[in-house]
């Protein structure tokens, strides 16, 4: 019974932990602008996330190696340095987006300008990193994040034309009045929002924090193959609610508030409050988790102690990196760059950076000396290789598209 509870909790945490400011913004924008014609990108991103997460989790459980441990061992000093430093820059950008997103939600709820919230949010995220035990953090924030299910329920309340949604989903075509490069740009942003580097670093390092071993493989697989796809479903719901409400009115999503309005149409003030609460939890949890991921990456690269299991002085340099990350990210938001722009740039560059961590993990997942009988099977390898090719293509076209479309304008 206790075991079953643990499994359910794990899956629910994975659902709640999947969605962050990247999903909220990109799903809202694309649903309002393109209907469900980009739903395939969420599906692709989620499948890739589940496959990647499963491999990284297996390497963490069997070979006891989280992502950046593997990166340093396999890529050598120089390549892994380049890899780790771009990952850190990207993570800081992600933390900035999450802190900014949390502050924007607080502005919506209170009317107090978001810039005033930034230092408070940053301090709160740091406190979670500093003192909150790992499992409590993961469970509390993950479970509260399930409040986002209000978007799924709203879909049934709204005048949703299910046949049209389904038709757009399975016949993806660029809407006539829209430019093709922008449509592809948002496809990449959706993939990037589902397949975030920090989430994989967090997932595999979390596995080490919770001392996963071979006997935990089943639980880990349930989390990746049930939890992540359900998280992907939440992203699709965020996209779909925009279709019956915002799209007919020609509303484009430029602000977090617009993404929550469909729930108000369905359920009024209470629904709106739940929607904002779910945004708040999702972005705040992601702020803490992406901060931790930066610390994990740097500490694993240099072989320092890391993790929340021991008090901060026992992992001093890890905590120092986390603190520096929060400060740098808060500083970035305080320059008054629009957090929504930071979010889009960070998810798109995140999509481009995926091969950096994905490839070494794919290689180690094939090494019998580390994984013994738990190496990748034919199915995982076929899927893994196809996804690798997709991600490399995405990485190559990302920057040209970013510049060509001026970040999707």
């Amino acid at each position: 019974m206790k075991k079953a509870l643990g499994l359910t909790l794990g899956v629910m945490t994975a659902i709640g932990g999947f969605v962050d400011i990247g999903n909220i913004v990109t799903s809202g924008i694309t649903g309002a602008r393109y209907g469900m014609t980009l739903a395939w990108a969420v599906v692709l991103g989620t499948i890739a996330m589940a496959v990647f997460g499963e491999m990284a989790g297996r390497v963490a459980a069997v070979a006891h190696r989280p992502v950046y441990h593997v990166v340093r061992e396999r890529l050598g000093v120089r390549a892994s340095m380049l890899n780790a430093s771009s990952s850190v820059v990207l993570n800081v950008l992600t933390v900035a987006a999450e802190i900014g997103g949390t502050a924007l939600v607080l502005q919506l709820a209170t009317g107090v300008p978001y810039l005033l919230w930034v230092p408070l949010v940053a301090a709160a995220a740091w406190l979670v990193v500093w003192r909150m035990p790992f499992q409590r953090m993961e469970r509390v924030l993950g479970l509260l994040g399930l409040s986002m299910l209000v978007f799924v329920v709203a879909l049934f309340w709204l005048p949703t034309d299910w046949a049209a949604l389904w038709d757009q989903t399975i016949h993806p075509a660029i809407p006539a009045e829209q430019a093709a490069p922008t449509w592809w740009f948002y496809a990449i942003s959706l993939i990037g929002a589902c397949l975030v580097p920090y989430q994989v670093i967090f997932f595999s390092s979390g596995g080490r924090e919770e001392h996963w071993s071979i006997k935990d493989l089943r639980e880990m697989r349930l989390n990746t193959f049930l939890g992540f796809p359900f998280g992907g479903l939440l992203s699709l719901a965020l996209m779909a609610v925009a279709v019956p409400v915002l799209r007919p009115l020609g509303i484009q999503v430029n602000h977090v508030g617009q993404a929550a309005l469909p729930v108000a149409v369905a359920f009024g003030g209470i629904g709106l409050a739940i929607a904002l609460f779910s945004f708040l939890v999702a972005t705040f949890a992601a702020a803490a988790e992406s901060t931790l991921s930066t610390g994990y990456a740097v500490a694993q690269y240099f072989g320092w102690s890391w993790g929340k299991a021991r008090p901060p002085v026992g992992a001093a340099r890890f905590q120092f990196v986390c603190l520096a990350t929060v400060v740098a990210a808060a500083g970035t938001v305080l320059t008054t760059i629009d957090p929504i722009t930071i979010t889009i740039v960070s998810v798109v560059l995140g999509a481009a950076a995926i091969p950096l961590t994905y490839f070494p993990v794919l290689v180690v997942a094939n090494d019998r000396r580390y994984l013994g009988e738990h190496v990748n099977g034919v199915v995982t390898n076929t899927l893994g290789t196809v996804l690798l090719v997709v991600m490399v293509v995405v990485a190559l076209v990302t920057v040209p598209l970013l510049l060509l479309t001026r970040a999707g304008q």
């Binding site: 070979a63 000093v77 102690s305 008090p311 901060p312 001093a316």
Partner: protein
């Protein structure tokens, strides 16, 4: 004496960039470089072979890491490491093989707690000067 899991191996496979773990299972850095005995000059001047170098110590810390990174960044890295050391010694932190308990595929395990290693100084400095003064640091 060191317990080696393999009797033939390569530097990339088992040593370079591997995780060091101290006697209590705590992370103690990575192996950034290896120290080998200096090759003895060939007395015959090209006739018989000189004795091959043997592994004498594992090297770690920024002064060992810098040269492996190479380029200007590597030079800067090593120079920063020397400055942090403050004692003017330009040689990297050494972990002699006598302190190595076991080398296997998973990790390189040491016989002593990490506090006794020379590479511990930077960590101790961050812990004492930056982290410990903050509230709730566990000290």
């Amino acid at each position: 004496m060191t317990d080696w899991a393999h009797h033939r191996f390569t530097a990339n496979d088992l040593l370079l960039d591997r995780q060091l773990v101290d006697s209590r299972g705590m992370m103690a850095g990575r192996i950034d470089d290896l120290e080998l005995s200096d090759p003895e000059p060939d007395p015959a001047g090209g006739g018989s072979a000189a004795r091959a170098p043997v592994l004498t110590a594992l090297l770690c810390g920024p002064i060992a890491y810098g040269p492996r990174l190479g380029g200007r960044l590597g030079t800067w890295w090593a120079a920063t490491g020397r400055r942090l050391r403050g004692d003017g010694d330009g040689y990297p932190c050494r972990i002699p093989l006598s302190l190595v308990a076991r080398v296997d595929r998973m990790q390189v395990r040491l016989t002593s707690p990490r506090e006794l290693l020379p590479s511990y100084r930077l960590r101790a400095w961050v812990a004492d000067k930056v982290i410990a003064p903050l509230p709730g640091s566990g000290r």
